[in-house]
């Protein structure tokens, strides 16, 4: 058994900086108790922001508007390309424009419940409060939300909630919100308030006297390693879904910024909480480089089925009704094809594991619109789903009006991330984490249209308020560039790159990434078991060893070298993957996106164990491959009382 799984339990995390008192007043209280920085002093203070997605773009623009000096980084060639841009569905807000009974409290309640009671109530309530301001802000920026003929904003209901609170811009809500944040950021760049470093990747955090004071970064064009200093550092570098190799994340999205921060002392919370989206285009072969999501709305009218018989290779049209298994309708008669994401995903996996999957490799299920076309007519289906059908046909060359779509689940979002307190500060003072990079608001499962809400809440409203308090209390001396902490961090970065380039092995970076991804998908994906996780924990250190022995990275470090970038990110995935498996192994309950086969109800539902696991698992790094220390933050539910979900 792997040495790594003998973790120790350390001191609990007691101080979450969350104010006391009635939940609806806590955010006001915190804003009042937080110290402010005199406007004249703000221009003397620098904040580093890593990432330019919804959270980072919004934070950079807002901090600069407030008068701080901002130094911002993104690996893309332009801040406009951060992966928030690919979000399709929409953004939730408790505006109650429909007069359908929505309220801040209801959005708060839905989010805590949807997260399967593994999120911190204070944070979630604040998110719901701030949600209404986000829509105002985005509309004022010119975000072209969908509107009704009266000129007012349109909304739709999303992800099974009973109120219509999701604002959207066709299927491109993320793009439009991101461009709003990017444009606000561009205004501040042009005004000289933000120093923007595009095509520059953070490779380490500089911690001086216990406080985050800067980063080490690499210019991806010249390869130059540089150090940047600030009074506080904000990580808005996104989630870690790409540890699975195949996911709906952008190809270059990576975990290096948060993992290097973890290595420097920031606890990593709930790494095993990953979300799988049930409706993605299945992989077509070993060449597959990423997975594409198809909007969940397709399940409103499509019927999901597989053949009743194993290994049935007939074309779908040749399989008579009596030989088809509409398994979701059969197992969950009241919710049918509209069961939550995790249930739909696991059911697809189960039928494919039984050998009844369809398409190449048997890793797919049919999503059939024949009945919908017969019922509504082809024109109505086209109006509703035309663009999605077109996208599907472009990728697969199959016409979904005539042949059922094939879908399969894929990794989509990571709820885990760096542990943060109510102020969004990590366990390293002066280091903040916002957006998907932190663990905070979604518990064990994120609701649809809530990622955009959280990213913008953190970036526009929460961080710019809470960071004042830290900056007001900690005026800093300049960091001398030859400070031992700076020298050491820089040396570690350059040594690692040099070591990668020195290897003259026989395997490419991608080959390792694919192998690690397959292992994680099998053992730490949709369903997890004690034995599978232990197997992965045995395999990962061996794979790490093999990586350093056999890796081959062409070229030099002093130029644009995309193979080097990849290999350097895989080094971190090879450590993060181990922590994910350990977290999944230690949490023997099922909750939200984390399904342990040993912990399920009679009808196959996730069975939580509130007695034992009503806590956030925050892990402290102790060295590569050496057992981490677990710090628990107990969760208290004063307003929303834990109940078991049921969809049967």
């Amino acid at each position: 058994m792997s040495e790594y799984s003998h973790y120790a339990v350390g001191e609990p995390l007691v101080d979450t900086a969350s104010p006391e008192g009635p939940i609806a007043e806590r955010w006001d209280r915190r804003r009042f108790t937080a110290k402010l920085v005199n406007p004249a002093n703000r221009r003397k203070l620098t904040v580093i922001v890593v990432g330019t997605g919804l959270a980072g773009g919004a934070a950079g623009a807002t901090l600069a508007e407030q008068g701080y000096r901002v130094t911002q980084f993104c690996y893309q060639d332009s801040p406009r390309r951060a992966h928030s841009i690919a979000a399709q569905g929409g953004i939730n807000a408790a505006k109650n424009y429909r007069n359908d009974g929505d309220s801040i409290h209801r959005l708060f309640y839905d989010t805590v419940k949807g997260g399967d009671f593994r999120a911190r109530e204070s944070n979630v309530h604040r998110l719901a409060q701030v949600s209404v301001e986000i829509i105002d802000q985005c509309v004022a920026q010119g975000v072209p939300f969908a509107r009704e003929y009266g000129g007012l904003l349109d909304t739709r209901s999303f992800g099974g909630v009973q109120v219509s609170r999701t604002f959207y811009a066709r299927g491109q809500t993320g793009q439009q919100l991101l461009l709003g944040a990017y444009q606000a950021l561009s205004r501040q760049i042009a005004a000289g308030n933000v120093e923007m470093h595009a095509r520059t990747e953070m490779l380490d955090l500089i911690v001086v006297d216990g406080r985050a004071r800067g980063i080490v970064a690499r210019d991806l064009i010249t390869g130059r390693i540089s150090t940047h200093f600030a009074d506080a550092v904000v990580l808005a570098s996104g989630g870690y879904g790409n540890v699975f190799h195949l996911s709906t994340n952008a190809k270059n999205s990576n975990a290096t910024a948060i993992w290097r921060a973890h290595r420097r002392g920031a606890h990593f919370a709930n790494p095993c909480f990953t979300q799988i989206h049930p409706t993605c285009v299945p992989r077509s072969g070993d060449h597959q480089s990423k997975l594409t999501l198809m909007s969940e709305s397709l399940r409103n009218d499509g019927r999901i089925w597989v053949p009743k018989a194993k290994g049935d290779t007939r074309a779908p049209g040749d399989i008579p009704e009596s030989e088809r298994d509409y398994y979701l309708e059969r197992i969950y008669p009241s919710f049918g094809n509209l069961v939550p994401r995790d249930i739909a995903s696991r059911a697809a996996k189960n039928v494919c594991d039984e050998g009844r999957g369809v398409g190449p490799g048997g890793q797919g299920v049919y999503l059939d619109f024949a009945d919908a076309i017969a019922r509504m007519g082809r024109a109505a289906v086209e109006t509703k789903y035309g663009n999605l059908f077109e996208m599907y046909e472009r990728i697969t060359a199959e016409n979904p009006y005539e042949v059922p779509m094939r879908i399969y689940p894929a990794i989509h979002y990571t709820m885990g991330g760096l542990w943060v307190d109510y102020d969004l500060q990590t366990t390293v003072p002066g280091l903040f984490a916002i957006g998907e990079a932190n663990f905070s608001d979604h518990g064990a499962n994120r609701l649809g249209a809530s990622a955009l809400m959280q990213g913008l809440a953190d970036g526009y409203f929460v961080l710019p308020s809470t960071i004042n308090d830290y900056l007001a209390r900690h005026p800093h001396d300049e960091v001398p560039p030859d400070h031992p902490a700076v020298v050491e961090a820089t040396r570690e970065v350059t040594d690692r790159l040099r070591r990668l380039l020195a290897g003259d092995g026989d395997r490419t970076p991608d080959s390792f990434h694919r192998e690690l991804g397959d292992l994680l998908w099998d053992e730490c994906g949709m369903a997890r078991t004690d034995s599978g996780l232990r197997k992965a924990l045995d395999r990962i250190p061996a794979l790490r060893e093999e990586f350093w022995r056999r890796i081959k990275v062409p070229g030099t470090g002093e130029e644009l070298n995309q193979s080097l970038e990849k290999a350097n990110r895989i080094v971190d995935y090879l450590e993060l993957a181990e922590l994910m498996c350990l977290d999944a192994l230690h949490r023997t309950e099922s909750c939200g996106g984390h399904f342990r086969e040993e912990s399920q109800t009679a009808d196959g539902e996730a069975a939580r164990d509130d007695e034992a696991f009503s806590y956030v698992a925050a892990w402290e790094f102790t060295g590569t491959g050496s057992p981490p220390v677990l710090h628990k933050e107990e969760l208290r539910f004063e307003y929303v009382h834990p109940t078991q979900r049921s969809y049967a």
């Binding site: 010119g142 072209p144 444009q183 606000a184 561009s186 205004r187 190809k251 270059n252 193979s563």
Partner: protein, 251 residues
Amino acid sequence: MNLTLRIWRQRSPEDAGVMTTYEVSGISEDMSFLEMLDHLNEELILAGDEPVAFDHDCREGICGACGMVINGRAHGPERTTTCQLHMRHFSDGDTIDIEPWRAAAFPVVKDLVVDRSAFDRVIGAGGYVSVPTGSAPEAHAAPVPKPVADLAFEHAECIGCGACVAACPNGSAMLFTSAKVVHLNVLPQGAPERESRVLDMVGAMDDQGFGGCTNTGECATACPKGIPLQSIATMNREYLRATLKGAGRRR
């Protein structure tokens, strides 16, 4: 299928660059164009050669990072982004020419990677509404007629890939610039800065070294998002209107 690729290789901005021929085999028609290049790169690495550098990220047609000229056409034979182009649109035995965007304002960085930061500077000149966080009025304070909102959206769909510039014989960025001008200028929220926006953005476009527009329409034909050519005419009217009003640039 088996293909012959002729790819532009250029080590650095200073390097002269040259078309280099590669043979690839075992290409599946289900591969995307970029997966075909991944396949080539894996072979190049194992053979001890340098892989071909190209920009890419989301691989689902929305981030705008990818873009190459394929057989003389920006993003290739289909009207989509390079990442959404699949190999089934080619045939066994084909020879495919692959080059970077070529425009004075987009210098080549390496191989197929170009520097498009000029686009960011055009946006920075006025492609925004000046509304600091927290100062926004209630979202329903200003209704926007649906046709206006839809028009704004149609122009806001631009992904900033640069295909319009690459396709234009003059290397002009008129379609890119007009997409943003029209998106914001038709909305009530964009009205206070309507004149300065168009003057500043057009000025910045010229300053960045983009060429002039001679109405060839290649830009709109190459645009993977279907930004309409009419957008340019609308921007010209906005420009004229601002000039006649005697408005000045802010930058």
